[in-house]
């Protein structure tokens, strides 16, 4: 296996982007990524996308996107793992370059969610259709059940959840590409509309359009493209029972824990070695459960992290400096790649106001469904 580095990145603004189609979003991010790396060709392309078919009636995205990038002819593959599609695409791009099959690969993620589909219904297809969705559960509902289980087991409170969103919005207020730039207060979060008890509107990530793309090359060729490559140290991927009812503990995200364990094992690193991280905060409870699963907080102690400042900028382990899915936005298939871009910028010292001083090692954690699939990537400044 060869060492692999990210040498360029491109990303659209996230939000309700009425002027851009699914392909427009991809092309904007992809062209920016190619330009930033100075790459003139691709040997391989992976496109993470959850549900072009349901959101805009478009499947077969790989050739479509290669074609619109002016690169019809290259090998291209669309990757789906619900909201972890981007992370899953990144792992395949990493494998493509690490294995020696390609020298320049693009990993992109894209989603167009605001073109009129019943988004609640489309997202619910990432849950168990026959045994969960049939009975009327929604995605906020599934995470609400995780939240309530976490509350019953560890004493997590509504206020603990609200603090996660307050922190995300604070970070997002410094990110020009974020969907929301507005800071919110604990009171605003707690008094916003209830979506699925106990989760309020401001504890749920938004419906977003957006795309993100990165260029991967072998580490020993990286200096041809940039002075500041970021090495992908390793990756872990895992699955768990699909339906919440079939999980060992509805308050725990076992696939996330397993993916993290594999990523730490692959890199020889531990949670204490991570300087900055992006985790999959599709709902406030998800950030709490994810930081426990990746080992930044002990089981049941993730609830205090946002309030105490531990996971805020300036804290012991800043989490979701981009604003996270909550404030930056969550175009589902793009999120896993956008997380990698935030870490890429952090490790290159390009994160501006959001910069974590001296960041050397970063982690991204992306997950699909109510946590049935997850990926953890670990990155390092070179």
């Amino acid at each position: 296996m060869r060492d692999v580095a990210i040498v360029g990145a491109g990303m659209t603004r996230f939000g309700e982007l009425w002027e851009s189609s699914l392909r427009d979003l991809f092309v904007e991010a992809a062209v920016e990524a190619l330009t930033s790396a100075g790459a003139d060709h691709l040997d391989d392309l992976y496109v993470g996308n959850m549900s072009g078919g349901q959101f805009v009636g478009q499947e077969h995205l790989a050739p479509l996107m290669a074609d619109h990038l002016g690169m019809a002819g290259i090998p291209a593959t669309r990757v789906e793992s619900a909201c972890a599609s981007g992370g899953a695409a990144l792992r395949l791009g990493y494998m493509s370059v690490a294995s020696g099959m390609s020298d320049v690969a693009m990993v992109a993620g894209v989603e167009k969610m605001t073109d009129g589909a019943d988004v609640t219904n489309v997202l619910a297809t990432a849950a168990d259709q026959e045994n969960e969705v049939y009975h009327g559960i929604t995605f906020p509902g599934l995470y609400a059940m995780i939240a309530r289980a976490h509350m019953a087991k560890y004493g997590t409170t509504d206020e603990d959840l609200a603090w996660v969103s307050v922190k995300s919005h604070h970070h997002g207020s410094m990110n020009a590409k974020a969907q929301f730039h507005r800071e919110v207060t604990v009171e605003e979060v707690m008094s916003s509309t209830m979506v699925a008890d106990p989760l309020t509107l401001l504890e749920c990530s938004p419906v977003s359009d957006g795309a993100a793309a990165v260029i991967l090359v072998p580490l020993d060729q990286a200096k041809k493209y940039t002075d500041r490559p970021v090495r992908i140290r390793g990756v872990g991927q895992a699955t768990s029972a699909m339906a919440l009812a079939d999980r060992r503990d509805p308050a725990a995200l076992d696939a996330v824990a397993k993916a993290a364990e594999r990523a730490y094992k692959a890199t020889g690193l531990a949670p204490k070695d991570i300087d900055v991280a992006e985790v999959h905060d599709c709902f406030a409870i998800a950030e709490i459960a994810c930081i426990e699963a990746v080992g930044f907080a002990c089981e049941g102690e993730g609830k205090d992290a946002a309030r105490s400042g531990m996971t805020a900028l300036g804290g012991k382990i800043p989490v979701n400096t981009s604003g996270g899915l909550k404030s930056k936005g969550h175009p589902v298939g793009a999120s896993g790649v956008a997380q990698a871009i935030e870490i890429f910028e952090q490790l290159r010292g390009e994160a501006g106001e959001r910069q974590v001083e001296g960041a050397h090692t970063g982690l991204t954690q992306n997950m699909g469904g109510s946590g049935a699939s997850s990926l953890v990537h670990i990155f390092e400044r070179v």
């Binding site: 026959e130 045994n131 969960e132 009327g136 059940m145 989760l199 079939d246 509805p250």
Partner: protein, 130 residues
């Protein structure tokens, strides 16, 4: 939902039929071909008790379009005495009162109507034991 797809689910939706692993004793709902715990294929059909306890729950206030008229409604993961867990709506009560630990019975109910013809689809809902 096309009728064959609905018809295939009849054993679990109409009869609350799960399966028990003859090798390790794991009970699943619905039935599975392979045991999720020990991978044995010796799974035997087993009807669940029509009772259980709420493990976790929520109140859905932003439902999918099909269930707009039902909202808000409670949904819970319920564990039966056999150790099987299933996701069901909890009916005949104030949805906000459905919390972990609540004792429920499982009753055969209309779950949804589908398609232009309004095909009636059945299954089980939980009802609090009073």
């Amino acid at each position: 939902m096309p009728s064959p797809r609905y018809w295939r689910e009849v054993p679990n939706r109409y009869r609350l039929e799960g399966a028990k692993c003859a090798d390790c004793g794991k009970v699943t709902f619905p039935a599975r071909h392979v045991c999720p715990d020990c991978r044995s294929a010796n799974m035997e059909a087993m009807a669940l008790s029509r009772s259980g306890k709420v493990v976790t729950s929520t109140v859905v206030r932003t439902p999918p379009d099909d269930l707009l008229m039902e909202s808000p409604y409670a949904v819970a993961v319920v564990e039966t005495p056999e150790g099987a867990r299933l996701m069901v709506q909890v009916a005949d009560c104030d949805p906000e009162e459905v919390l972990p630990g609540m004792e429920v019975s499982l009753e055969f109910r209309l779950i949804r109507k589908e398609g232009h013809g309004g095909i009636r689809c059945y299954g089980h809902k939980a009802v609090p034991v009073v």
